[in-house]
């Protein structure tokens, strides 16, 4: 029987060195007895020197090293033996750790997660207290009782977090200290080694009791996340019992007390508000309509869209383009034609020589219609009722901008303007005189081009789209030679 006496409680490198010697010597797990410094030596027991050997040692998966580094901090006296036994098996089968169902592997995983939890709780429940000092530099100390030997793996976290502080954490088995430059470890200590109070503690207790909502008592939940064993070192814990005791009564009192007379400050504010039911001002300008459309609830689309996207362009203009509805980008930006389809339109306008800044751009429907699909919003075509409801706003825009030529982009826009369902192919390519004297052109919506997968077909459609727009340009020039042909 080989006896291995480790000097440290949780030194991974020390264990690894020993384990490697044992593997070289070919010692099976049940031929080795591991002792940590806490273990009571048996009578006449002395540590054997580590054996020598020259058997080859296989590399182990990195996952095992990570696991072992955590597990050595566990308080179970069996940890070293268990690690050696799994290491032994890994020499023959590299996939042992993949078997989540293996008894040893499950035990190691459980031990590792207990250590991680212990370390996490240390990060959470260490409470620093100010150490009285004449030097003028604030110094802090905390007493903590971990279940495992987790101070060493946790202290670097505190060093990263509290770089500009001098602090020490004292545990029963060891202590850690940071002086602003260096992390050092020393002997363990006792609760009496750190101050029992702190000047800020009463503020903290005030916060703890005020943030508690007595109407939602969930004591079991609290205890599962903040186990009672930690309470003796948490200053706020003494408040928990009285808070629970008083909860029911304070909620009852709150519910029974009727709402009081509002304060005079509030009543003065009410006096300054306009009378409810005051008549709506008529929408006589584009600016009025732009403001009012944000409150539009003529159809249900307002509910999930970000905002109404009103038209954009000169207050008076000869040319108006009407699309279907804002898309994802337009909905977020509050501007029409700023997304991918807008880019296609821009390119075509430049190509045929129409200055976008002199065109009034808008949509038949002002709110974005979509269905959520994971992290994306999928565009949905507005139905006839929605188009009809929104015609009010489009009519207002037409009445204010007074365009001579309107271009309907896509079937929805054409339907809105003509008041009936239409097909693009039947109408495109020729001006349509409207009863109010404007001229309507119909073409595809630019997003149609984006949906064509085949490059050659897309190119053909793009040329047709540009031809349509070119016809619009020459019609506009015919109306007014002054229209920019940049």
């Amino acid at each position: 029987m080989q006896l291995v006496h480790l000097h440290a409680l949780n030194d991974f490198d020390e264990w690894r060195l020993a384990a490697r010697c044992l593997l070289r010597a070919g010692l099976e797990p049940d031929e080795v007895v591991w002792r940590d410094p806490y273990a009571e030596p048996e009578l006449f027991e002395t540590a054997d020197p580590l054996p020598d050997g020259n058997r080859p040692v296989n590399a182990v998966p990195p996952a095992f090293l990570a696991l072992a580094q955590t597990v050595v901090s566990h308080s179970d006296p069996q940890r070293f033996a268990l690690l050696y036994s799994v290491l032994w098996r890994l020499q023959r089968d590299r996939h042992v750790l993949d078997l989540a169902t293996d008894v040893d592997v499950a035990r190691l995983n459980k031990m590792a997660s207990a250590v991680r939890r212990d370390s996490h709780k240390m990060k959470a429940f260490v409470r620093f207290k100010t150490v009285a000092d004449d030097s003028g530099i604030a110094r802090f100390a905390a007493w903590f009782e971990p279940d495992h030997f987790s101070l060493e793996i946790t202290a670097p976290f505190f060093a990263r977090r509290f770089d500009g502080m001098n602090w020490a954490i004292v545990t029963p088995y060891r202590s850690a200290a940071w002086d602003g430059n260096q992390l050092t470890f020393g002997e363990g200590g006792s609760k009496a080694d750190v101050p029992s109070e702190d000047a800020v503690e009463d503020d903290w207790k005030t916060y703890f009791s005020s943030i508690f909502n007595p109407a939602r008592l969930k004591v079991a939940m609290m205890k599962s996340e903040m186990p009672v064993k930690y309470w003796r070192n948490l200053p706020e814990a003494e408040l928990i019992a009285p808070l629970i005791r008083g909860a029911r009564e304070s909620v009852q009192q709150m519910i029974e007390r009727n709402a009081s007379q509002p304060p005079s400050r509030h009543l003065r504010k009410l006096e300054r508000l306009p009378e409810p039911g005051a008549p709506f001002a008529p929408l006589t300008t584009l600016a009025d309509a732009r403001a009012a459309v944000q409150n539009c609830q003529r159809c249900p689309l307002h509910e999930h869209a970000t905002q109404a996207v009103f038209g954009h362009g000169p207050e008076r203009g000869q040319l108006m383009f009407v699309g279907e509805q804002p898309g994802d980008h337009e909905d977020l930006a509050g501007q029409p034609f700023v997304g991918p389809a807008g880019k296609v339109l821009d390119a075509a306008l430049i190509k045929v020589g129409i200055d976008r800044d002199r065109v009034y751009l808008t949509n038949a429907v002002k709110h974005f219609k979509f269905i959520p699909r994971g992290k994306r919003r999928i565009h949905q075509r507005p139905d006839g009722g929605e188009v009809q409801a929104c015609k009010f706003w489009l009519d207002l825009e037409i009445a204010q901008v007074r365009p001579r030529i309107i271009v309907a982009l896509g079937a929805t826009a054409a339907q809105s303007l003509l008041g009936k369902p239409v097909t693009i192919s039947a109408l495109r390519g020729a001006p349509i005189p409207m009863t109010d004297g404007t001229i309507l052109f119909v073409t595809n919506h630019p997003s149609y081009l984006l949906r064509i997968a085949d490059q050659a077909a897309r190119e053909t459609e793009r040329l047709k789209f540009e031809t349509d727009l070119d016809m619009v340009r020459s019609a506009a020039e015919h109306l007014s030679p002054a229209l920019d042909t940049a």
Binding site: T101, F157, F162, D163, Y207, S210, N213, R216, K218, H304
Partner: protein, 411 residues
């Protein structure tokens, strides 16, 4: 009026902040004070430093800058018609309190909100000043969550995102009608526009592999929102539909559901009864299914009744019981998507099943060891040595899987 002590202000302004459900301090960039002489760090996953008896974690110092407010939202304890005691912190006081608490390891950082005073811009500017001072004057590297005041200028929003880890704009109510009824001065479109602006800034800050210059960082922990549940008549379908729309539209990290809880000096129009905490819990579970399990809202709602989730069983089990034709699922063959739909199997269990089954065929015991508990799983799976037979279709299955009633709260 006599000046309030600091401690009295703290009591008033933390009491006023306790109805906001969000508490997380997770999901931000990795950051530390190492070598800076400052204090603070964030390492991805947040830390809960304490728990209140209401079961909620205390991770951040959650306070209002002031609980004075010009708005009169009926559900809110700080509405202008309420007679709660009022207080206001100075920017310096909040900074000092945050640092004092942080240095004692009470908190992970600050979650600062505010009643709206003077104007949205004025209020937002004050919030931004606190965060700026913490970061610039004190080299504070801890977590900061700022509340966005809808209608504040985009410039203030942009600066808020420079200092804060997370920004949140509360949607408040599940439907616009609900908001109109209970918060007549708030405009739903303004709230959503604020979220859209934050999203735009988040998009700008997203690293672009093609661009050489690294974009300026903006709220690395993203944005979140809160919805009050049970103050109006909106059903779970409306709530989840709203949430799904918000996730897809504004890249939200989280939607927090807050069971409406009685408030002091409350209006008679409010339901003054125990908060529907079980409903809130089921909504969180449903939200989880939408974000991580590939469920969509109609599927989840179809597991309940009349637009409400089943309160007795979790929404995944409710869905499975209504869709038994899709079960049992063979744990040795089924694809990941289908395994994720098995009640009792979480994402981690499914990952471990997928790895383990590469090496040997899983038996029921193996699944039990991986899942931790097998009762809920058993009727819905097949394993090497197990077939549920008629158990899947047993009419008493639901009754068997409903957990025994337990006392949830004092009421």
């Amino acid at each position: 009026m006599a000046a309030l002590t600091m401690r009295r202000k703290l009591a008033i302004l933390s009491d006023a902040a306790k109805y906001d459900a969000s508490c997380a301090s997770s999901g931000t960039e990795k950051r530390s004070s190492a070598g800076t002489g400052g204090i603070g760090s964030t390492e991805g996953s947040g830390i809960c430093h304490s728990y209140a008896p209401d079961g909620r974690c205390i991770s951040l110092l959650k306070i209002l800058l002031t609980n004075f407010c010009v708005y009169d939202c009926i559900y809110c304890v700080n509405r202008s018609s309420s007679n709660v005691p009022r207080a206001r912190f100075t920017v310096e006081e909040v900074v000092r309190l945050t640092l004092d608490f942080y240095k004692r390891n009470y908190i992970e950082g600050l979650f600062l909100s505010s009643g709206i005073i003077r104007s949205p811009d004025y209020t937002m500017e004050e919030l931004v000043r606190v965060a700026r001072s913490l970061r610039q004057d004190h080299h504070f590297a801890g977590y900061i969550h700022l509340k966005v005041i809808p209608n504040a200028t985009p410039e203030l929003l942009a600066e808020a995102g420079l200092w804060a880890d997370r920004l949140s704009t509360n949607i408040e109510m599940p439907t616009d009608l609900g908001l109109e009824a209970l918060a007549p001065e708030k405009r739903p479109a303004e709230i959503r526009t604020a979220m859209a602006r934050v999203r735009g800034k988040l998009d700008e800050a997203a690293p672009d592999s093609k661009a050489k210059a690294k974009p300026r960082k903006f709220a690395p922990a993203g944005q979140s929102t809160q919805m009050i549940v049970g103050a109006d008549a909106a059903d779970d379908g409306a709530i989840l539909h709203r949430a799904a729309g918000l996730y897809s539209g504004y890249k939200l990290r989280r939607v927090y559901y807050s069971a409406f809880s009685p408030i002091p000096d409350a209006s008679a129009r409010l339901p003054l009864k125990a908060p529907p905490v079980m409903r809130e819990h089921r909504l969180y579970q449903a939200d989880w299914l939408i974000r991580f399990y590939g469920f969509d809202v109609p599927e989840i709602i179809s597991g309940g009744h009349d637009g409400l989730l089943d309160l007795d069983i979790d929404p995944k089990l409710a869905w499975a019981l209504r869709n038994r034709a899709l079960f049992p699922v063979d744990v040795n063959r089924a694809d990941c998507e289908m395994l994720l739909r098995v009640p009792g199997l979480g994402t981690r269990s499914v990952d471990r099943i997928l790895v383990t089954r590469r090496h040997h065929r899983l038996r029921l015991d193996d699944v039990a060891r991986i899942a931790g508990s097998i009762d809920k799983v058993r009727p819905f799976i097949e394993a090497a040595d197990w077939s549920p037979g008629h158990l899947t279709d047993d009419s008493k299955l639901r009754a068997r899987l409903v957990p025994p009633p337990q006392q949830l709260s004092l009421f």
